[in-house]
Each structure stands twice: as structure tokens, then as C-alpha cells.
Amino acid sequence: MKNSKEIILKINGRNEKITVPSHRTLLEALRETGHVEVKCGCEKGDCGACAVLVDNVAIDSCLTLAWTSEGKEITTISGLGTPDEPHPLQAAFRDLGAAQCGFCTPGMIIAAQGVINDNPAPTDDEIRMGLSGNLCRCTGYAKILDAVGHAASEMRKNGEPS
């Protein structure tokens, strides 16, 4: 394809080479490189399913071009924790019933981490504001808010730098 080039994306701490055209979104590039933990929902910034951290700030990967993401630290949900060693947010979502079908969960947890990066002790309203760009069709949000509040307090207790 014309306008294609090889770029290096640093995903969850590892450099990955991919050849993509200039109009490829970061979301598409991530899924093409096997990072299907990043979900594709609306592709227009409404649902937050595609959220990833770029240099520790949550963004919608569907509204970002892959080329402009070179040289930045990209973190997906898999970069936060694993089934064996879950991140406090992942553990809280699991234990407090904050995930049902799970489709929104990767984006939801990334957005929650974005909130905590800014403010380790968010109030309920601050959590709501921080998650207002993420849609969930299953849970009704109450358990998600509980889980984020719980995880934030766990992280403060453990003194995690976030």
C-alpha cells in the first residue's frame, strides 16, 4: 500500500515492529500485532473500549494514528497485570463483580488507572467523571465505581506509586 512504513511501537515495555499505512489507527495496529485485549467498539470516541495508556495518560486508540504513537510508552490492560499477578484494579473488578461480559473491562480499567495516575485518592464523583467516557452495557456501573474506589484505597495502602 502506498504511504506505508515500518514503525516501532513500544507496547507494554516491548518494542514491536509493524508496517502500516499512515491512516492506520493505533487501535487497528494494536489488534493487528495481536493485542486483541484492546477492544474495538464504536471507533468514534464514544465508548472507551479501545482506551490505552500512552505515556501514562489514557487515550482512545481509535482516535489516534499509529504513526504518531512511535517513541511513546503504550500500555494495554495486559501490561497492568496478569491472571497470576493481577493489578489491584483487575483483582477488584474480579472480586466485586464489576465485570459481566467483560467487553468494556479493559478500557474501563485503563480509564480507572488514568484517574488514579492523576489523583491517588479520587472521590466517587471524581471516579464518575473519569469514567464518563466508558460505556458498559451490563453492570449498571455501581459495581464498577465500587471496584475502582476499593482498588484505589488498596493501592494507597500498599504505597504503590501507581
Binding site: 499512515s22 491512516h23 489507527t25 470516541g45 487515550i59 482512545d60 504513526w67 504518531t68 464518563s132 467516557g133
Partner: protein, 285 residues
């Protein structure tokens, strides 16, 4: 998903200006509007010029009496600025109710102004602060008052070879009150139905300056200058505020769409102007 285009990622402003001077291009800032228009094929540019690397365009600066936001300053940057409640209370009000976290982290002030949408939420606040924007091309620089920037629906005075580099305004005078109200279908992540920004400056019980900027009730954001004139130089009685609110309504020309009817927008623009003016007066007198 998107049509193909040549993507340029200049490292310097001069380079970016040269690129948009040579060939028609769409400037890409946060991408929260442009990417959606590209995807919907509403725009099919040959060339897209990303401002991503131009960190010089991002930041909030205070120089004496003047506050300047670089065009790439994000909505989240506004929220993180400790002094914004003093510098631009209405702008903080707008940023607080703007989109969701990810869009706030990406979306920029320059993009909000340049998209020329009547529902762009930062524009009524900035207009109520008498903001001025800086337009730069490879040929030179000019300043335009934000209230003179828009011509008609999605049309503005910016030439294709020009870029917005910053927006600035003077600190609020003593005895001023400045606020913004966003009416939408819900609080989080919703497009504005009616937006009202008001600034009042008082000398004793007399109003010296009034600014009323209205969003989403006409083809562009605009200042209700007839209403402002009614208030300036006067003692702000309830009757006078009612007359001014009626004038704001009379100057509006809303449309009906999926979010609200024209009738509802007219009703609410009158009510909200009345409410914000009354609150501002009661705070100051």
C-alpha cells in the same frame, strides 16, 4: 477504515506552516473531531499535518495581566491548572463538563476553536473573557478577537495557510464574575443543547461591563451584544435583567435537532441568561 492520505509529522512550527502553505491540508491536533470526520469520509484530504510533535504549542502562560493558552493545550491541562478558577472560571466550568476522560486528554483548545462548531464548549467561555486568537502563517502573524472569528455555520476567517497557535485574554477585572452553564441531555459526555457564558464587572451597584456569549443556539457561537448594551452603565434591577435575557433570546436563531427543539433552545437560552446574570449580580452587589 480511513481513506488514504499523506501524513506529515513536522518537528518545528515553521515546517508545519510551510507544509500547509504548499498544499491543501487538514491540521491534526488531538484528533477528536478530525479523526471522526475522516472516518465518516466527510473530509478526504490528500495531506494531514500532525501537530503532535510541536510541544511548543502546548502550555498555559501568564505574563503580567495576560493569560495565554497554546493551541495544543488539552482540556485536561485546563483542569490541572491550579489557577484556572481565578483566570477563567467559565473555562473551568466548561472543561469540567467536557466529554469523557480520554477525549479530555486528547482534545485541544485550538481544535475546539478551529472546528467552528456552534456547540464547541470552550468558545462561549473564551468569548465571555474577550479572548483573542493568534493566527500564524509562513507569511506572518495576526490577532483576531474571538468574537470576530466566526462567519457562519462552520465558516471562519482562518485562511487554509494559517494555523491557530494560541488564545489569550486579560485577567478578570476586580469585582467581576464569570461563569458558564452547559445544558445537555445528561451531565457526562454529552453534546451541548444550550450553552451560556456570562461576565459581569461592577462598580458599586452599577454594571461597567457585561459579556454574554451563547453556544448551540445559532449557526455560530456569538455575543448577545444587544443584551450586553442594556446592562452596561446601569444599576442591575430584576426588570433590567429580564429585559436583557429577552434580548439574548431575540438574538438567538436555533435549529431543531435530535437533542432538542428550537423552541426548547429559545426557552432555555432566555432562562439561563437570566439565571447567570442574576447569580453574577447577587455575588457582586
Amino acid at each position: 477504515m480511513y481513506g488514504e492520505f499523506k501524513l506529515e509529522m513536522p518537528q518545528q512550527l515553521d515546517e508545519a506552516l510551510a507544509l500547509i502553505a504548499e498544499d491543501p491540508a487538514e491540521v491534526l491536533s488531538g484528533g477528536t473531531n478530525l479523526m471522526i470526520e475522516l472516518r465518516a469520509r466527510k473530509l478526504r484530504p490528500e495531506q494531514v499535518v500532525s501537530l503532535d510533535a510541536l510541544s511548543e504549542l502546548r502550555g498555559i502562560e501568564v505574563d503580567g495581566n495576560r493569560i495565554t493558552l497554546g493551541a495544543r493545550t488539552t482540556i485536561s491541562d485546563i483542569l490541572r491548572c491550579d489557577d484556572m478558577a481565578e483566570f477563567g472560571p467559565s473555562l473551568l466550568d466548561a472543561a469540567n463538563l467536557f466529554a469523557g476522560q480520554m477525549v479530555r486528554n486528547m482534545g485541544t483548545v485550538g481544535g475546539n476553536i478551529a472546528c467552528s462548531s456552534p456547540a464547541a464548549d470552550l468558545v462561549p467561555p473564551l468569548m465571555s473573557l474577550d479572548a483573542e486568537i493568534t493566527l500564524v502563517s509562513s507569511k506572518g502573524t495576526r490577532k483576531v478577537a474571538l468574537c470576530d472569528y466566526y462567519l457562519s455555520y462552520k465558516k471562519d476567517v482562518r485562511a487554509p495557510s494559517e494555523m491557530i497557535t494560541s488564545v489569550s485574554w486579560k485577567k478578570l477585572a476586580k469585582n467581576s464574575s464569570n461563569s458558564f452553564y452547559k445544558l445537555a441531555r445528561r451531565i457526562g459526555d454529552a453534546i451541548t443543547v444550550t450553552g451560556v457564558a456570562v461576565t459581569l464587572t461592577m462598580d458599586g451597584d452599577r454594571c461597567t461591563t457585561a459579556r454574554i456569549a451563547l453556544g448551540a443556539v445559532a449557526p455560530t457561537v456569538f455575543r448577545a451584544t444587544n443584551a450586553e448594551k442594556i446592562l452596561e452603565g446601569q444599576i442591575l434591577t430584576d426588570d433590567l435583567i429580564t429585559t436583557a435575557a429577552q434580548q439574548a433570546k431575540a438574538q438567538s436563531s436555533p435549529i431543531s435537532d435530535v437533542r432538542a427543539s428550537a423552541e426548547y433552545r429559545l426557552h432555555t437560552v432566555g432562562k439561563l441568561t437570566h439565571r447567570l446574570l442574576t447569580q453574577a449580580r447577587d455575588k457582586l452587589v
